[in-house]
Every structure is written in C-alpha cells, then in structure tokens.
C-alpha cells in the first residue's frame, strides 16, 4: 500500500503542483495585507480542471507555504504578512535590525518545516483512528458536531458573538438556496434556474474574501498613496545551521505538540497557536529577558507553533467533513467541487486517496524546506511588491477564477455580489468565517437535523437524551462562550466575596 501511495502521490506532475502551491503560498503570504485565507481562496480557482489529488496538493502547498511566507514580512518590514506571523514580529524584526535577518528567516524556515512535519505525521496516524470512531456515531451526534463546528467559528468573532451568530445563520440559510433534496421544491432561487444546484461555495468565498480584500486594499492604497515600495531591513545571508537549531529541541517539541493540539480544535488556528507557543517558550526559557529584543528561540517557537496546526486542522475536515476554520472550509469547498465527500467513508472505502493526501502534506513540508533554502533571497524581495499593483491583478484573477469555477458568467455575478456582502460585513464588524463555514456545513447540518427529527418523530429531545450528543452540545456552548462564562463566574465570586466581607 505504501508503494501505491508513493507511486500515486509522487508523480512528476504532482511534485510540480506541490512546488507551485508552495511558491504561490510563500509569495502571497509574504505580501503584507494579504491573508492566508485570501491566498488559498485565490489559488482555489486554479484547481479547476485538475484531478482532485493535484488540486488538494496545490491548496496544501499554498497553505503550508503561506504559513511560512507570513514570517518574511514579519522579519524584514515589521509587518506580519499574515495574522499567523504576528508573534514572529516580536523577535524576528529586532534580529533583522541587528543584521541577522538571514538567521531569523532560516530559523523561521527550519522551525516551520519541523512543526509542519510533526503535524503531518500526527495526521497520518491519528486521522484513521478518529475515522473509526466517527463510524459509530449517529445523526444526532453528527448534528451536534456540526453545531460544535459552527459555534467554534462563532467563537473566533471575539466580542462580536451576536454578529457572529447572525453571520453563521446567514451562511446556513444561503446553503439552502436551490432545490430541496427530499421534495425537489425550489428554495430562495428568486426564479433563477441557474441557482437550481445551489450557490457554489468556492465562488462565494472568492467574493467574500478576495474581492472584499481588494476593496479595503484600494482604500488603504489611495489614502496612503502607496505606489512606493515598502522600506525593508537589508537581507543578510544566514550563518545558522541545522545543528544550531538542535539546541532548541525542547522548544521545537513543545511548540509542535501545542500547535498540533490547538490545530485539531475547530475555531482556533495558526495565530492562536503561535502566540501560545511564544508565551510558553518565553516562560520556559533561561533567556526570557531577551525575548522581544531579538531571540532566535522566540522566532522558532512562533513559527513552529503556527505551522504545526497545518496537519492537525485537517483531522476534523477529513474524518468528519467539518471544517475547523475558514481555510479548511475553502479546502472542503474545493473537495466538494471535485465531487469528493470528506468523512469516515474516505477511510473505510479502501481508497488510497486520503492517505496520499496526508502523505503528500509530509512531502510538501520537505519541499518547503528546499525552496526556502534555495530561494530565500528571492522570497525576501517579495515584500517589496507595491500594493497598488496588486489591486487590478487580484480583480482580474478573481473574475477569471470565478468564471472557471462554474464555466459560466453567472458565477462572476455571484462573486461580485458576495464581494459587496463581504465588504459590508467587514465594514460593520460582522465576521466572515462563520458565514463561509455555514455555507459549507449547511447541507450536513440540515440533513442530520432532519434525520434526527425523523428518528425521534419530530421531538428535539433526541439531542438531549443521548449522552454523547448532549456532551458535544454542552462542550460546544462552553467552548464558544468560555470568556463570557468566566466573566459571569468572576462576577458571582466577587459578589459573594463582597457579601462575605459585609
């Protein structure tokens, strides 16, 4: 089987696609202001016409490359290319100012690779086991897991949970557009037969993320008149070697573990993981006082932590078909576009596709290391690309990509409509990830809700009388509203303490 996986995954075509994805990911990730979600959304348009394995390799390459690419601008121009590299700035930029930009970039690269590979190995061994457990659960539990996924997405909205909930409900509502699966009646189609098959998630995401990003970018470019290149610290060649990194083995191991655990939890992500790992590294380091002033260990912890989520985020996506964040939601959208339904059946069907994907992630991390070592100077120059050039380029890519998704100009109209929706949502602080995750999860959500209610004869008590289902629902609520619950508990404690003092 291993031979089969290798022969399918490592064809020349797939290897080239992986490397193309990594390059695109690093390039987009290294441009300040463009998020990793944006990178994966734009690259998604190129997966049209590819077979599912190559398409996934392209997206995974972009994901892994973009995660590392964000560190380049963090180190060289003190601006994280993506939010995942926010913690890399703390020590990366001071190192660059000290004339050690090359060392910081090399440390980021090696740590990213180690974190990514660790996570990919965990995915490879853990996902099949999780899939076996998933086979045992019924519709009510699946519905509860969908609720968990949705609430996890809402929890990323921070203090805007109410708006997050509205956004999620809107996403789920939009997923109902088209023909009803059971009765075949038209739903929210406004008489347009082109909506019969429903809204294409990929087009919606391209509009909501990429086109929206362009509108905000245009405003920033105009107000700052940024047609000049960003000022960056001079790139100095690295003297750091792999064996120099080995002295940080404890930090690498700790950050890999933390990143993998955080990545497997829906609603978290690379930024949370990197910050957590950075703080843990500072707490445990004998050089804690040097953190923030240019400590290689700080860069190592942050970069290892953010890349260690890459494999772990795939666990709920591949085994349950539930995206943990907007990035995996896009990948899920791509799989749906290819006609592949993620879930436990991927593992039980005997197909090697899913193993080739997981093994491919491991290989992608190796290519990331190779590309980073060979082209580090070239990648360092990407952060100097002026933003003004990117605005019309992205508009053209979005429209061509939107057309390619459905092979019809109607998709371009949907893309433009979602661009406006995304702009208004961002302008008025409605989070976009719950909307897109709702769009992806909608069908699964409704199907399992329907099945559960049919099983129980229309009674919602089925969700509260089955222990596993109830446990998942309680955990979802606790997980999503943890800060609010903590506040309430603190207030109760304070009032009790006040009453006791009196």
């Amino acid at each position: 089987m291993l031979g089969q996986i290798i022969s399918q995954a490592l064809t020349l075509h797939n290897v080239l696609i992986m490397n193309l994805g990594i390059t695109l990911g690093i390039v987009i990730g290294a441009m300040p202001g463009l998020s990793l979600t944006f990178a994966v959304t734009v690259v998604l348009t190129l997966t049209y016409g590819m077979d599912s394995m190559a398409g996934m390799y392209l997206l995974l390459g972009t994901y892994v490359g973009g995660m590392y690419g964000g560190s380049i601008t963090a180190i060289l121009i003190n601006t994280p290319g993506t939010s995942n590299a926010a913690a890399t700035v703390f020590d990366g930029y001071p190192l660059a100012q000290q004339g050690r930009a090359g060392d910081a970039l090399r440390a980021a690269l090696l740590a990213s690779t180690i974190g990514g590979m660790f996570s990919a190995i965990v995915l490879l061994f853990l996902a099949p086991q999780v899939a076996k457990v998933v086979l045992l659960i019924g519709s009510p539990e699946y519905f509860a897991l969908c609720v968990f996924g949705m609430l996890a997405a809402i929890s990323t909205a921070g203090k805007n949970k109410l708006k997050g909930l509205i956004s999620a409900a809107l996403g789920l509502l939009m997923s109902t557009v088209g023909l009803d699966h059971i009765y075949g009646s038209q739903r929210l189609m406004f008489g347009n037969y082109k909506l019969m098959g429903g809204l294409k998630v990929s087009t919606c995401m391209l509009g909501a993320y990429a086109l929206t990003q362009v509108l905000f970018m245009a405003k920033n470019v105009y107000s700052a008149h940024r047609d000049e290149r960003a000022q960056q610290v001079k790139y100095v060649k690295s003297t750091l070697r792999l064996r120099d990194m080995l002295k940080y083995w404890k930090t690498l191991l700790r950050s890999s573990l933390i990143g993998t655990v955080i990545g497997a939890i829906p609603g978290t992500g690379g930024a949370t993981s990197a910050m957590f790992c950075y703080n843990e590294a500072r707490r445990a380091s004998p050089n804690a006082e040097n953190f923030g002033k240019g400590e290689i260990e700080g860069v190592v912890a942050a970069e290892c932590g953010n890349n260690a989520v890459t494999g772990a985020t795939m666990i709920p996506m591949l085994t349950l078909g539930i995206p943990g964040d907007s990035l995996t939601a896009i990948m899920l959208g791509a799989l749906t576009m290819q006609g592949i339904t993620p879930g436990s059946q991927l593992f039980s069907s005997g197909s090697i596709w899913v193993y080739a994907i997981m093994g491919g992630l491991l290989v992608i991390n190796i290519f990331l290391l190779l590309q980073g070592l060979v082209f580090s100077r070239g990648f360092a120059n990407i952060s100097r690309v002026p933003m003004i050039v990117m605005v019309p380029c992205i508009i053209a890519v979005c429209c061509m990509g939107g057309f390619a998704i459905g092979n019809t100009t109607f998709e371009v109209s949907v893309l433009i409509a979602f661009g406006l929706l995304g702009y208004l949502m961002r302008r008025f602080n409605f989070p976009i990830p719950p909307l897109t995750i709702g769009l992806v999860l909608g069908n699964l959500f409704e199907t399992n809700l329907r099945r559960s209610l049919v099983l129980s004869g229309g009674s919602a008590s089925i969700f509260f009388t089955r222990p596993v289902c109830l446990l998942i629902l309680v955990l979802s609520v606790v997980f999503a509203f943890l800060p609010e619950i903590k506040d309430i508990v603190a207030k109760i404690k304070a009032s009790r303490a006040g009453a006791g003092a009196r």
Binding site: G49, S185, T409
Partner: protein, 171 residues
C-alpha cells in the same frame, strides 16, 4: 465620551435596525413566498423545505432583537454622556477633498468591478481587462508607467494559464 464614540454607537444601532428589517422581510415575505411546500410534505412530514430556513430565521430574529436592545441601550447612554460633556456641539474637523474621496474609493472600485463583470458577460474577458487595469490604476493615482506594464503582463499570463494550461474556455 467623544463625538466619534457617539457616532459609533449610533451607527451600531442603525446597523442592527437595518438587520431587523431584513430579518422581518425574510420571515414574512422571502421564506413564505420563495419556498413552496408540496402538499405531500404538509400532510406527512414535520420537516418541510421551510422548516430549516424558518429555524435559521428564528435564530436571526432572536439575535437582532437582542442586538436592538443592546445597541439601543448603548446609544442612549452614549447620547446622555455626549450631551453632558457637550461634545455634540464640537465643531467638525474640516475634511479635505482627499479625505472625502478616500471614503468613496471602495465604492468606486466596486462600481468598476461591476462594470468589468458586465463587460465580461457582454464582450468577453480581453477588452474589459484591457480597460479595467488603467481605470483602477489611474483611480489609485499610480504614476509609474512600469506598474501598468507589470499588471498587463500579469493579467496576460493568468489569461494564458486559464486558457491553455487549465483549458478554461474564457469568453
């Protein structure tokens, strides 16, 4: 309390009120009119094609009502504080023409994207792309001719990739 904070509170309230109106429209018009329930479903099934949309509409309705109350209370508090400190009578800082235009830039770019989309539908990709690029760059006050060239090269490259590598029959 500053005038900006007062304005923010007012904006939040207005946004929630607009959302309330939209949710009301959804529940009272969109779902009943745009989702037809077959007679068989009405007779035998407790889960009709409308059940899930109504379920979501109800969640949205609860959220917007809570939001109305919350933002309403915040607005009243902000107004009271703003009146007390007299900051509502403060003179507006004078906006330059540049500041005024900046606020409209996303809308102008969006209008260009819409025109681009219409152009694609009517006459295909090539001519609208050739026109869209300088329109956007001129709007953003790009003065370097090299940048125009780079964008044309990039757009041309992407067109070739879609057309000849991915075999997408772009119109």
């Amino acid at each position: 309390m500053t005038k900006a904070q007062y304005r923010k509170a007012r904006e939040e309230l207005l946004v929630m009120l607009v959302c309330t109106a939209l949710v009301a429209l959804l529940m009272l018009y969109v779902i009943p009119v745009l989702i037809r329930v077959p007679a068989a479903a009405l007779k035998d099934d407790s889960f009709t094609p409308r059940t899930f949309p109504y379920f979501l509409g109800t969640i949205m309705a609860i959220c917007v009502l809570i939001g109305d109350v919350k933002t309403g209370v915040e607005f009243v508090r902000a107004r009271r504080e703003a009146l007390a400190c007299g900051c509502l009578k403060e003179a507006e800082p004078k906006k330059t023409l540049h500041d005024r235009i900046t606020g409209f830039i996303p809308w102008i770019v969006y209008a260009l994207v819409v025109l681009y989309g219409v152009g694609i539908t009517r006459i295909g990709f090539v001519i609208p792309t050739v026109l869209m690029i300088p329109a956007v760059l001129l709007l953003l006050r790009c003065r370097k001719w090299q940048y125009y060239l780079y964008v044309y090269l990039f757009a041309g490259g992407i067109w070739v990739v879609f057309r000849y590598v991915l075999h997408v029959q772009l119109p």
